[in-house]
Amino acid sequence: MSEVPTADAQDVRTQACPGGPLLVRGAATWVDSDGIEHPVTRPVVAVCRCERSQRLPWCDGTHKFVTRTAPSVA
């Protein structure tokens, strides 16, 4: 059944950082909004939420410069 989470999905934990990225633990891959799979190579990854990163789907700290010039909407 599709609503039964897979063992993988059960182990994946996410933590949203206000004004910053989404921390993801326990994932083997990250599927972006275009459906492209990105391999996860470290124990915790930061997924970009401001969409300004030059390393999408990963955060590269760019959100700080975005929120500095324009008040954050996140």
């Binding site: 915790v44 030059q54 590269d60």
Partner: protein
């Protein structure tokens, strides 16, 4: 590593004791440590910083031909304590306004800490490396940085047994990533050694200690001061948070400088790894480590802010010193 050459009476005394050529009893430490050393010059005092660096190094890899038991020699620990007290007192003065301002800004602890870091984040050195540095200046930067990066993250490992709960879990998670996440070829200190090798520099631990200036030694001593004293665990992790939170963007700029200069891929790889890694570590260090620790031990809040402000103030002084050196065309040649 060999004991470095002394740079004044204090480092001379320390060197004599460590090399077994003088006994503690034969030395008058009080006369050495009471030499007039203006507090605001301590960060630029290479004799003071080298003496302290040698005493701290006994807790890391030590020196060839130095008795390993001197690490816990009561008189050396006592002498080091006097130097540490002077340094800590200077750092408290240097950052008192920053801590006061952060607290006045109010809000939750995460916001106070992030606000302080954003306010003090300089980054002029990374911009210089990106736009203007020559290959020779870049190599000079790498040699200075090698004093810390060949033992990258080691100071903070001393803090693990001194904290508990979620903050401990998060610090272990961050350190695991720093130590290669189970892969020896991804140990961050190892990536830095590869970066040095690719530039034709010496990646032997401590290879460039003789040419490290006072401010480079101070950057290292501050980390050891905070990490080796349980009382200063809050400052150590605040320092870590500021370090990680001001690394990702500068690494991107340095990477672009490496491309401009056409430097080797292994050198680029170190900084490339840190763009993504430190974007993660920033969040871990501020939220999962520092904020969690302060929630459990609210009394540590001011020390976390003190550690963060110290990291950025001392780093700024070291960076300014380096850029000034370059701009006055006094680039120190590497010893042949």
């Amino acid at each position: 590593m060999q004991l470095p050459a002394p740079r004044g009476p204090l480092s001379q005394q320390v060197r004599l004791v460590l090399s077994g050529r003088a006994t503690q009893g034969s030395m008058d430490w009080s006369s050495v440590t009471s030499l007039p050393r203006p507090a605001d010059r301590i960060l630029h005092d290479e004799d003071f910083q080298l003496a302290l660096w040698m005493l701290f190094e006994l807790h890391y890899r030590g020196f060839d031909s130095v008795d390993p038991d001197l690490e816990w020699d009561p008189l050396l620990i006592h002498s080091r304590g006097m130097l540490e007290a002077s340094l800590e007192s200077l750092l408290r003065d240097l950052t008192a306004d920053d801590v006061r301002r952060a607290n006045r800004a109010g809000g939750c602890f995460t916001n106070r800490l992030s606000g302080l870091i954003d306010e003090l984040d300089g980054g002029s050195l990374a911009t210089f490396l990106q736009r203007r540095a020559t290959s020779e200046q870049f190599a000079d930067f790498m040699r200075r940085r090698s004093i810390y990066h060949l033992k990258e993250s080691d100071p903070q490992s001393f803090v693990l047994p001194r904290i508990d709960g979620p903050a401990k879990v998060a610090l272990a998670e961050l350190q695991y990533d720093e130590y290669g996440a189970g892969r020896a070829d991804r140990l961050h200190a190892g990536l830095f050694a590869d970066a040095l090798d690719a530039l034709g520099l010496d990646s032997t631990y401590g290879a460039y200690i003789e040419e490290a200036d006072a401010t480079t030694l101070a950057v290292n001593n501050v980390m050891s001061l905070f990490a080796l004293r349980r009382r200063l665990r809050g400052a150590s992790l605040g320092h870590l948070a500021a370090f990680e939170a001001t690394s990702s963007a500068p690494c991107r700029r340095i990477l672009s400088g490496i491309e401009r200069l056409g430097l080797p891929a292994a050198t680029a790889r170190y900084f490339d790894e840190h763009v993504e890694a430190d974007a993660v570590h920033e969040q871990l260090a501020i939220r999962s480590i520092c904020a969690a620790m302060v929630e459990g031990e609210p009394g540590l809040a001011d020390d976390v802010l003190f550690g963060a402000a110290t990291c950025l103030r001392v780093e700024a002084i070291a960076s300014e010193t380096l850029v000034e050196t370059w701009e006055s065309h006094q680039l120190v040649e590497a010893p042949a």
